[in-house]
């Protein structure tokens, strides 16, 4: 193969690079629309559930009294609650994060099962007093506001 003329060579390089980058961009855009895992609140998941098996994240409060360990000793079941008494049952097999307790906030990564139970592959809770998953942080502020609202009702 003979060497190309300089002008053409630069042009070809630019075209090749652009084609590859635009291709990568388009591919990325297409894949991101399908593969990004969306964040759901319990009420959103009830109103408009994601497809069964699609990777999503569910964030809310661990309902007090709902946490139970199944006989195998490693699977737990609990419910995540949100606003308007929305409630989604969750199943998780594994070692729970350190600050995971009833009444605390949690983000569950996983997918909705056919039986309506959210199967979590990973649980994110507060990591330490300095680090809170971002969705949880806002949720806790929200909850604090709600709690303040509820406790001040009688004063009006």
């Amino acid at each position: 193969m003979s060497a190309l003329k300089p002008k053409h060579q630069r042009l070809i390089l630019v075209v090749v690079a652009l084609v590859a980058l635009v291709g990568a961009g388009l591919l990325a855009a297409y894949a991101l629309r399908n593969q990004a895992s969306y964040f759901y609140l319990p009420e959103q998941m009830q109103a408009d559930p994601p497809q069964v098996g699609q990777a999503v994240r569910l964030g809310g409060m661990v309902e007090p009294g709902s946490l139970e360990t199944l006989p195998d000793g490693v699977t737990i079941r609990f419910a995540v609650t949100g606003n308007d008494d929305a409630r989604v049952p969750v199943r998780f097999s594994g070692i729970v994060p350190d600050l995971f307790v009833e009444g605390s906030g949690v983000v569950a990564e996983g997918s909705l099962g056919a039986d309506g139970v959210f199967v979590a592959e990973n649980l994110l809770a507060k990591h330490d007093e300095n680090y809170v998953p971002r969705e949880l942080q806002e949720m806790e502020q929200h909850r604090a506001a709600k709690m303040a609202e509820e406790t001040t009702v009688g004063l009006e």
Binding site: P6, A20, A24, A28, F39, G73
Partner: protein, 649 residues
């Protein structure tokens, strides 16, 4: 007093960076060497010394735990072991920024002191650019992140350091990455200097190359160490999470890898001039984007220890200033960079161009995936992007790149023609086919691990093919560097594919006395669970007996630790490393029925991931040594020539 001394040194260093910028700029504009030009180099050297003094003062404050300094009070504790007291100096936002600027100033000082190969105007422009970049960081430190700030009333006791960070591997991890980032900032300055003074020459590439190589070695080490840290410290058994912070170190690495290869083409063949400059700008941009993502805490991240959105906007402004400015100069000047040497498509250059384009595409994919959650959040949609996106989409570009990596080094510079290497190509193709058949016989494995396993063997063979027919004794050390780095890629690929294809996991609840379980070839018995205490933590510790295929029992002691300053719980996983893989054990909570949760993995050949990473870094280090030795030889030869000329005159 120490804190004030450090602060004064920092202000002086900032002033000298400004002087360096002005003197360099005047010298470049003035054309012939003016008096100002004489100031640039000394200013750079002094700036380096002063920044080092400031950082030494910070280290000292941490060593003596001076609790009247806000940063020390917030991040240290008198009970902490000394090594972690010192590492606490950079295990936080302000300190790590000071470390960054110190390393940058020292690098600037080094080039100002010894680099004499480029035309003086180019050096002036380079140092001016370096001064400009440094000035931004000084402003950031002094105006919004002063590490030497005093407390009105000294604290009684420090607030400790995040216990997850009390780990020797992690103490070394951020500095390693910062050395990488800083190396890229030097490459960036050279690129700007060369572009401004129209000196995009092979000599420029040779001067820039050691910095790119050094940066690349440090980034490789940093990513490898970071991955291993996340693997054993987080207790999740994974080694790469596509977390924004991990991507923040991967993106500069991808850009630096591309830059390294294009700089080689420019140095050896005087081609890809504008492209190399472009990559120099992109590589530094990526390290700034990385810093921004990590330091601003703008993205949800398991690693986000230092979160402060307000500082994010400052870094964003710096980012816009550096990158915007550099791309503006590039747009204005790229047209003046004349055409390089031409080459055929199927030549060494062609393969390297292909490698560059693929790396850029991968970089784009990682960048889009990392920033996408930020984009959708503007429309109030919360998403996270993980392996289902990165793995398959990345693989589309990684696999062709790896194939060309196998073949490229066999091709000749400039001349086209695959015919000359048809035998080698046939051998590699046969190996890939054989491996594919073998691996698919192994059973139910998903597509990407199959491809990874089948490619890794032939890639390892291909890495050594450039050695055929050459005298191993007389082979330049830089060629060894390439061979070992490419071999390292094959090794790491094998580890990754094996981990994802063959890992076995067991989650079990077992009785305290003699409860048994198994994972893969391992039999595990829980003997006891006892409380233990360390210098600043208490823990429950499980005693496990593990037997590999019924062999001698090995004692494992995973812990669940409670730190008290600050209060936090961590899981301390234990690993048993064999040549053919790792056993990974984590202890969880005790259930209501008294049984303990154990989580166990058997991960065949997982260690190859990090061995591969280390081999890649070793290859880079060898290439660096080779290049620096060549440069030194040439330097003495030139000096001798000059002396001889003087003598004859």
């Amino acid at each position: 007093m120490i804190a004030e001394l450090g602060l004064a040194a920092l202000w002086l260093a900032a002033a000298l960076a400004a002087l360096q910028l002005v003197a360099g700029a005047v010298a470049v504009r003035g054309g012939d060497p003016s008096e100002m030009a004489l100031l640039t180099r000394p200013a750079a050297v002094t700036q380096g010394v002063l920044a080092a003094v400031a950082f030494a003062m910070l280290l000292w404050l941490f060593a003596i735990t001076d609790l009247s300094v806000k940063l020390v009070a917030a991040n240290s504790h008198s009970m902490k072991p000394v090594i972690f007291k010192l590492s606490g100096a950079w295990g936080n936002h302000e300190g790590s920024m000071l470390l960054w600027v110190t390393v940058m100033a020292l690098s600037g000082a080094l080039i100002a002191w010894i680099e004499r190969r480029l035309p003086e105007r180019t050096m002036q422009a380079t140092l001016a650019a370096q001064g400009f970049v440094a000035l931004g960081f000084y402003a950031f430190l002094l105006l919004s992140s002063n590490p030497f700030e005093r407390l009105p009333i000294p604290a009684a006791e420090g607030q400790g350091l995040n216990p997850l960070l009390q780990d020797i591997g992690l103490a070394m991890h951020p500095p390693t990455l910062y050395f990488g980032y800083v190396g890229l900032s030097v490459a960036f300055s050279f690129a700007v200097g060369a572009l401004l003074t129209r000196q995009v020459t092979p000599e420029f590439a040779r001067v820039m190359r050691p910095w790119v190589l050094g940066a690349w070695v440090f980034l490789t080490l940093g990513i490898t160490a970071g991955s291993y840290w996340a693997y054993y410290e987080l207790g999740w058994g994974g080694w790469w999470f596509w977390d924004p912070v991990e991507n923040a170190s991967l993106m500069p690495w991808l850009a630096a890898t591309a830059l390294l290869h294009s700089a080689s083409v420019l140095a050896a063949r005087d081609a890809l001039r504008a492209w190399t400059i472009m990559l120099g700008v992109v590589a530094f941009s990526m390290s700034m984007v990385g810093t921004f993502l990590v330091r601003s805490g703008i993205l949800t991240s398991v690693h986000a220890f230092a979160v402060d959105p307000e500082r994010g906007s400052f870094i964003l402004i710096l980012l816009a200033l550096y990158i915007g400015g550099a791309f503006l100069i590039f747009a204005l000047r790229a047209g003046t960079v004349s055409e390089g040497q031409r080459f055929a498509i199927a030549s060494r250059e062609g393969a390297l161009v292909f490698n560059n384009v693929m790396l850029s595409a991968i970089l784009a994919i990682v960048l889009f995936g990392t920033l996408y959650p930020l984009l959708t959040e503007a429309f109030d949609v919360r998403v996270s992007v993980g392996p289902p996106y990165f793995n398959p989409v990345g693989a589309i570009f990684v696999i062709p790149m790896l194939i060309v990596m196998a073949v490229g080094p066999l091709l000749r510079w400039r001349q086209g023609g695959l015919g000359r290497i048809s035998r080698e190509m046939a051998l590699l193709a046969a190996l890939v086919l054989a491996a594919l058949v073998l691996v698919s016989l192994l059973g139910d494995i998903s597509l990407l691990p199959i491809l990874g396993l089948s490619l890794s063997g032939p890639l390892a063979v291909a890495a050594f093919l450039p050695l055929r027919g050459r005298s191993l004794r007389r082979l330049p050390i830089t060629v060894w560097g390439m061979v070992i780095a490419h071999f390292g890629i094959a090794v790491a690929l094998f580890g990754m594919a094996s981990e994802s294809a063959f890992s076995q996991e067991r989650l079990a609840a077992v009785q305290t006395t003699g409860g048994a379980t198994s994972v893969g070839p391992w039999e595990i018995v829980l003997e006891s669970v006892t409380p233990v205490a360390g210098p600043n933590w208490t823990a429950i510790e499980g005693k496990l007996q593990a037997r590999y295929e019924g062999g001698e029992p090995i004692l494992l002691t995973p812990q669940s630790r409670n730190f008290w300053a600050p209060a936090q719980q961590t899981t301390e996983s234990v690993l048993v490393t064999r040549w053919n893989g790792q056993l990974y054990a984590v202890i969880g909570d005790q259930g209501a029925d008294g049984r303990w949760q154990l989580r166990l993995w058997w991960k065949p050949f997982v260690t190859f991931i990090w061995y591969g990473g280390m081999l890649v870094a070793l290859g880079g280090a060898l290439a660096l040594i080779g290049r620096v030795r060549q440069d030194l030889k040439r330097r003495t030869a030139t000096a001798r020539l000059a002396r001889r000329r003087e003598a004859s005159a």
